[in-house]
Structures are given as C-alpha cells and as structure tokens.
Amino acid sequence: MAELDFTDCPGNKPSLTLVDNRKRDLWRFYKGATLVSKVNYLGQRYSTAGDQYRYVQVGIKDIVANNDAFEYPLLNFPAKITINSIFLAVDTTVAADSTNYQTIAATDDGDNSIASITTATTGFTEGTARTMGDIDSTHGILSANEGLKLTFTKSGTGMALSGLNVFIAYTINEAYTNGHSIDEDDPPLLAWIDSPDASEVILSDRDAGEHIDLNNGAFKVSLDGKAITTSVDRYFSITSCLGDIDVSGPTPAKFAIFKPSAKCRAVGFYIGADTTVALSSDSNYMTITFDKYDTSSELEIARCSTSGPYASGTALTLGEFTKIADYLDGDMVELNTELSSTDYIWVTLAKTGTGGTNLSNLTVQVLYEKLE
C-alpha cells in the first residue's frame, strides 16, 4: 500500500497541504540517491524526466548563398531558461564545400554565440536533423525576455540552403530569490525511497475537493488532475514564421498560428522579422491582427502595425521579437483570450496606403497558459 494513503479523505480541504514561509522546496522525491522531482516554494516543478523540456521549432525556409544581412528571431521567453539543444534540418541535400559555405550561429541578444556549425566539412542530408553541437554553458542561459536568434556568415560565395528548419529544446531555470539555491535546505516533505514494491509513495483518491495545495496555491492539483501553478512554469510558447510579406502584392488571407487540443489562454504576442523595419509613415503601414477564430467568427485579441504610424506603430529590429500585447498589462481583449479545443489564433494582415515596408520572414510568437 501507499506510504501516505489519502483514499476518501474526508471534507473539502486538500488531501495534502504544505505551507512553508522559509523559501525552501516543498517536496522532493528521490530515486535511490538521485533527485527526480520536486516543487519549490514558488510552485515551480522540477523533473529529470522528458517533461522538463520545452520545444520551439521555427521553419525559416530558404536561405540564399549570401545571407549575411539577415537575422532570424527564434524565441523570447519571460523567464530565465537554459538552451539544451539546437538542431537544424533542410529539405534538400547539400554537400559540404570547404570554399563556399555558411557559418550558422545561434546567438543571444548580445550577439554572443550559443552554438554554431559550418557547412565547410559537413553538409546536410534532406529530412535529417543535424545538431549544432555543444551549447555554450554561459551564453546558453538566457535571462527573462532575452532573445535567441539565428545568424549566417558566408565564406567565399556562401551556400544556399533549402527549407531550413530550426529545432530548439530548453528548460526553465528555477526562479529563486533571497539567495536561496537548489538543495539549500531540506523540504517539509522528503521521500527517499528504494521502493521494495510498486506501491505509490503518496496516493490521493477522492471524489470532491482538491488533491494538493502547496504554499497557498503556488502549486495545486485539482480533482481532475490539472496541475496549477502561479510560477513561470505556467507559460508555454510557440513560434510561427509566416514568411515574406510583399506589400506590393495581395496579402495572404489568413495564417493559422495556434490551435490547442484543450483549453488555453493567450497571454502574450510578439512579432519579429529578419530585417529591421523602422517607423517611416503615418499613411502607409501594415496592420497585423491577432484574432481568435471560434469556427464561426473572428474575434480580435490584439493588433499592431509596422512601418507606422509614428505614434503607435511597432518598429522591428532584425532578429529580435518585440512584444506587442501582454495579458497582464491589459492590452489584450480579455474576453477573447481564452481558447477552447476548437478555437484558433489567426493572424491577418491589412494594408493602409501602400502597406509600408516589406516584411522579410515575418515571425510571430504566442505565449499561452493551459487552463485545463
């Protein structure tokens, strides 16, 4: 049987409540002598299993031989993160060329290299992911709201790459304050089990109320098994590269950016491009609208505009995401931020005047929380 068994726990209070005001972890589970799971005082969960990883993928498409002028925004997360791995893939095989090749680097906002490869001695095989190698132990840790981007430097005449995709895995760092660090103090609940059988350590089986409440709601488990946290763990992101927007042509109809399989809330929108776009006009600009599409109607969540107007437009710096709406700042239409499993987030474009400056590899990032 379980070490702690809360089957049919009476009343409506949680099966397990832990409150500790000394900023230490609330629980830790060990496998043998190895820490495998914990929840810290902020409600942030730590795991050594595969669920520690977050994934971001960006399809930046075709790269011309001389691509030095472009920088591609990949990720901007609102908490400190560690980049674990970056892989690249192309859709058409290209052989190594020691004379004309690309040096491809992932860099932070300060242009410090996080990882880099060249196509001088190793090319790409279509449909096959190639690692960018070891992640720099210093620059691979990004501060909250620090960007990650991809840059190219040609040697000789460079090398064209077809259908380039970038695959990033990262983990969210622990957000300690007051000088506390991992394992500084033992937690209130410590389970260190070389389990002699297959029984669970803690079992909560009930038909009403919540299972767990740590530090007054910092981390909770609802009756239906939803893990709820107020920590940075609650944020997830997805990046979508919409491609080149030529203002002289018809703007494409609609871009599907995100469709969850369960209820979510959009909490942040960012836009970026691989070239800089300054504010240049009050009459010629492009409006980018983020809509919720509920299968029957388009409901605006937020909008921005590039190239202008001067007073309200969004200037873009190559390789960087600019936040254009934040749920917590109240600049989203709150009613429309909640997405059910059948809802989408759409991005639509609309020209005013000439539409302003072309947008090269317009890229958007959506920050969201899971609600169920």
């Binding site: 099966s15 397990l16 070389d194 079992l203 299972h211 109809a253």
Partner: protein
Amino acid sequence: MEIGGLNIQNVGSGVSLATLLHIKSGAGAGAAHDNLVCSKSGTETLSIDVNGLMTATSGDKYQYAQCNIGDIVADSDAIVPCIFYAVAGLTLVSIGLSVDTDIGDDDVNYQSIQFTDEDDNAILASAFTTDVAWTAGVIVSAGSLVSASHEVLVATDYVKMTFTKTSSGLAMSGLTAHIAFEYTS
C-alpha cells in the same frame, strides 16, 4: 466541513528547518513505483512516476509544436522537410495542416502528404491527400496516426514529411504542420 488530509503549515517557523515528513523505506532496487498518484473516484488523473515524469488526463498532457514548411511548388516530390525533433520520449497525438491562401478542390492534380519517422515508417495511417477545398487559416487533420510504434518517438528520433504529386501536383502557399504530443518518459 474542512477536514482534509495532512496539513503542515510553518511548523517550527524560525526555529527549525527540519524535514517534517521524511519517507524512507526499503533498500530495494528502486521498483517502478509512482511517487504521487491523484485519482478521482478511483480513476487516476495525475501521477508523478519513479523518474519524476508527470502525466495527467487533463489538458495538461498536451504539448504543441509547429513547423512552417512554406510555399510548396506543384512538383515537390524531391523535397523532404524534417518537421520535428525529439529530445526525450514522447508520443505524437495529432498532426494538422494549414495553408495561408485558399485552395480549390482539384481531384486530378493534387499532393499526397505523408509523415514518417527517421526509418521511413509511415506515421499517418493513410497519406493525406489535398484533393479537398482548403480554406486559408483553417487547420485540417492530417488523419489518423498509425496504431503502431512509429508515432512513439524516443530521444533523437525525428519526423520527416514527404510529398507525392498526382498528375501535375498542387502548389500550396504557407504550408504549416501543427503537432500535438505527450511526454512519455
């Protein structure tokens, strides 16, 4: 009624930093026990396994990834985009596809799209064919995934995409793959 179960609140505050509940048992080989199981009326809804993996039956279980393939020319048989790379064990739950510009129904000239693992095993039970009217911005299901092991990825596995044209094929603007998956190890 506010009974609840175990309730530990700031015991020994300012005096002790002791662990209040220290579970230590056995000297076995570390059997495959769960560290935590939460159930609703006997049905498990959340667990943290022996390795720290949290799984749930709620919407928490879904993770999302997206890959923009871009503009596809009518004859794209030669290209093989890689659209997903796993760094840990996971299972693909669904794959959707979208375009950014309407495409009319064409039963003569179309594309068959398949997703495969790195060993070229099919992930879709049947290839998705584009002989449908396709509305810009609408994500359509690529179809059922195989009920075999090919949608189950281990670390370093990746997913590829292939195109096979029928007649002269079909151009697509802003093709994007939308993936939902669950962590499994």
